[in-house]
């Protein structure tokens, strides 16, 4: 039980300390999806 709590606390600490990094990675993915959406729009205009 103590081990589990310790593991959870350690993981929580890691999540907290790396939260900005996780946000930055998320921002990149959002930008990539927006890029994909604009590609679909451009392709649609080009084809029709």
């Amino acid at each position: 039980m103590i081990l589990t709590m310790k593991t959870f606390r350690s993981i929580a600490t890691h999540i907290a300390s790396s939260s900005w990094g996780i946000v930055v990675e998320g921002v990149y993915i959002v930008l990539l999806l927006l890029l994909f959406y604009s590609i679909v729009l451009i392709c649609s205009v080009l084809i029709h």
């Binding site: 993981i11 890691h14 990539l32 994909f36 729009l41």
Partner: protein
């Protein structure tokens, strides 16, 4: 002169393989606990037999390695990495075969190699009726395989560091996050565990919202995370992601797949206060360019075919399968036959190219890798610039990967050689597939999928496929995952046994 290996060389290798196998055998505790928790008592003897077989095999190797002296050399570590993966395959296939869901032991070995190499091609029969513990075992193999089985053993089980870095390189991960390789392997596991908790929590919430009841939702969330993060592409149901009929599940797994395809060195740099690296890194730039280009081709093909009524659906279906292919995951939300039959050959070619490019170096994914693609592109740029400038002009080309690095001929040569090796295994596989009567495009699609450790299927992979093709795919998955480095080491070792003096 090539020198023949001494008995001590075999002992060194045998000792390390034994340690890896003993480490792998401990993994059996997780499906065993799952079986107890889910009341699947009939499954426990299967894991008991499999654990002991793997453990005894490890002990036999350690026994033959007793008395080994001296330091590990590169050739030793390459043989250890290559052989560990090959020997662990049949030993980890026991629960698969004992479950009765495979037509033969060879098919079970195919699935295990597919899991370990994070490929995701499957030959399992009646997947919808397998036990929770076997599902846990399948997904655990792919999760561990993503990080690397030697990385696992180095991170948690080995005390000494002698030869550790060489074995780490032999497994296809040649970059250090930290100066010490043991710390590097632990950092890889910390990153994976942090995302395991976050990803599983988000997927659990989504699956509950989409109508899957607890505790199945928790198990599915965990397995989907493992499949997506390791870019393995295993799913608990036979329809893969199509089973969930949910845009939210697709969106979350899409994000996890992309995260899993990032270089662990990049994760570490961004997490430790260097957010700009995310937008400057050569691999991310290469991935963005290749993913955008292949997606543009795919989007054009889908819009022209007119199979989807609106652009949002084109974006949803197209981007998911493309990212699944490019990150070498292999999650599918269309049926296997629909890719070539309904999306058309142009879309198929776009996905084949995306799969071949693959994920980042030192990630859980496969393929050429963004680093190599970026280096070769930079090399081309360098050559074009050299022709344009006067003959006596001296200039340098740099690329950014954590730090600015001056591009050298060795960089380009090594990247080019490995890419040639990948292309060769893809083409040989396509040729073998064609010889067995499959259309060339189908055979190429499936072999690129196996060789780049993706797992998307157009329907070639099935229990009834020829045994030779299964064998070749096992080889392609293994060689592709270890990025040929260990294969070269193994060949060198074989030659030294045969021709050494």
């Amino acid at each position: 002169m090539i020198s023949r290996p001494y008995p001590n060389d075999f002992r060194l290798i045998s000792n390390q393989i034994g340690k890896v196998l003993c480490g792998i055998s401990l993994l059996y505790s997780i499906p065993c606990v799952t079986a107890v928790a889910c009341g699947e008592w009939d499954q426990i003897p299967d894991y008991l037999i499999s654990f002991n077989a793997c453990f005894i095999a490890g002990l036999i190797f350690i026994f033959f390695g007793i008395g080994a002296t001296g330091r590990m050399r590169w050739v030793h570590s390459m043989v250890v990495a290559a052989f560990s993966w090959f020997i662990a395959d049949p030993l980890c296939a026991m629960p698969h075969y004992l479950s009765g869901h495979f037509a033969s032991y060879f098919d079970a070995m195919f699935d295990v190699m597919s899991g370990f190499t994070t490929t995701g091609l499957i030959l399992i029969l009646d997947l919808d009726h397998i036990s929770h513990s076997l599902n846990m075992w399948r997904h655990l193999l792919t999760y561990v395989g993503g990080q690397g089985m030697i990385v696992l053993v180095l991170a948690f089980l080995v005390r000494g560091t002698a030869g550790a870095y060489m074995m780490y390189v032999g497994e296809g991960k040649d970059e250090k996050l930290l100066p010490n390789v043991i710390h590097t392997t632990r950092a890889i596991w910390i990153i994976s565990t942090v995302y395991l908790f976050l990803g599983t929590a988000v997927l659990l919430f989504v699956l509950e919202y989409e109508g899957i009841a607890f505790p199945r939702s928790l198990l599915h969330a965990l397995w989907l995370f493992m499949g997506a993060w390791s870019t393995g592409g295993f799913a608990p149901q036979s329809q893969s992601i199509l089973y969930y009929h949910s845009v939210y599940v697709e969106l979350v797994t899409l994000v996890i797949m992309i995260l899993g395809s990032f270089n662990f060195v990049l994760h570490y740099a961004v997490w430790s206060g260097n957010p700009r690296e995310m937008f400057k890194n050569i691999e991310i730039r290469a991935f963005t360019v290749t993913a955008s280009l292949t997606f543009a081709i795919l989007a054009c093909a889908l819009i022209r075919s007119g199979v989807y009524a609106d652009l949002v659906t084109v974006l949803r279906r197209g981007s998911y399968l493309l990212i699944s292919g490019h990150t070498t995951t292999g999650y599918m939300q269309v049926y296997a036959n629909q890719i070539i039959q309904d999306w058309g050959e142009l879309a198929t070619v776009a996905i084949i190219v995306a799969m071949a490019f693959g994920a980042s170096a030192c990630s859980t994914g496969g393929g050429f890798k963004g680093l190599r693609t970026g280096i070769v592109a930079k090399g081309l740029y360098h050559e074009i610039k050299r022709i344009m400038l006067s003959e006596d002009a001296y200039f340098l080309t740099k690329f950014h990967h954590i730090k600015d690095i001056i591009l050298t001929e060795t960089h380009v040569k090594m990247a080019g050689l490995i890419i040639i090796c990948y292309v060769a295994i893809h083409l040989i596989g396509a040729l073998i597939g064609s010889l067995f009567g499959y259309p060339f495009v189908n055979a190429l699609f499936e072999c690129v999928s196996a060789g780049s450790n993706t797992g998307l299927s157009c329907g070639v992979t099935a229990p009834a496929m020829p045994a030779l093709l299964k064998g070749y795919y096992i080889f392609a998955m293994w060689a592709g995952r270890l990025e040929f480095i260990s294969l070269f080491g193994l060949i060198a070792f074989g030659i030294s046994i045969l021709r050494g003096k």
